[in-house]
Symmetry: C2
Subunit: 182 residues, 2 copies
């Protein structure tokens, strides 16, 4: 099992303290948003499997007019397992960009389309930087601040590069593609 999957990360989140599936989802949306995102459809099954493996234990708390809360805690063997994962050599970093992938085929797209595409990525990145900058201040741990700063820095560099080099692909796109595109 890799570190970067729902199960391991649920376990990791539980090292910070007990939590429900719902709360774990929120952790994915905040602390872990930069490196992972998981939906309920991944989290709940993961927690069930972790329970079966004995890596987490589950205590139920009845609530009126709501489904009972299932509060999960990491067990000793769960912590053990997680630490072993943490000591394994990490896989290489991967950057996946659909936009950049599309731009490889820039010759097949009309000029205008390319410009819109680039405008949008820049915009996305800008928004991302703004969001991170806001949340960064609230972060308590050093490692979270480090991660936050990383995300900001890298995206700012990406924005700058795109602004300075977009002409390379914006000028090159041929008009002959429009017939095929339409």
């Amino acid at each position: 099992m890799l570190l970067m999957n729902v199960k391991s990360l649920c376990l990791g989140i539980l090292t910070f303290g007990e939590a429900t599936g719902y709360e774990i989802k929120k952790a994915f949306e905040t602390q872990f948003s930069q490196v992972y995102d998981a939906g309920f459809g991944s989290i709940y099954p993961a927690l069930n499997q972790l329970t079966t493996s004995g890596y987490v234990s589950c205590r139920q708390e009845q609530q009126e007019k709501r489904p009972a809360k299932k509060i999960y805690s990491i067990t000793e063997s769960g912590l053990d397992f997680f630490l072993k994962e943490l000591h394994k050599a990490p896989a290489k970093d991967k950057f996946r960009s659909e936009t950049l992938t599309k731009l490889i085929f820039a010759d097949m797209l009309p000029r205008e389309n390319i410009s819109i595409l680039i405008d949008q990525v820049i915009d996305d990145y800008n928004n991302y930087v703004v969001d991170l900058s806001d949340s960064c201040c609230e972060k308590q741990s050093q490692s979270e601040k480090f991660l936050c700063g990383f995300g900001i820095t890298v995206r700012q560099a990406a924005i700058k590069y795109m602004q300075e080099n977009r002409h390379l692909i914006e000028s090159a796109s041929s008009s002959s593609s429009q017939q095929a595109a339409e």
Copy 2:
């Protein structure tokens, strides 16, 4: 279907000209290495499915003492499909780093371990930059150069950030974790 999957990308590669599965694999390793990687176990089934869908056609070339080459070409309907994919709004960019993910749990790792981890990512990034810089010169199309430069710039920014900020997490890691880790 998304743009960023084996099938669409095989189709995309075939817009550059006919190719065998083996050659497509090489295209993934070179031109597309930054944005995707696919093994034979993904490519061959993909090509079969694309053939069934009528998006590619296949011509066989007998060879002595080797399995017959299957040379694939994109069909009209395949090109049509690909262009439609190309015109869809792209998904948001994702950056996945196991190392950064691990570093969120820096408090649970011994100081030394963290330093090694950071040294290794920086090293990986440096190697990546070197490889890209070499291959960049050979690139013919503008869009490939753009992508290449992007990869270099972003990684250089990442390296710089890590060098300047690693102390944030290197100093914070507690020694109390060592007992649990061992």
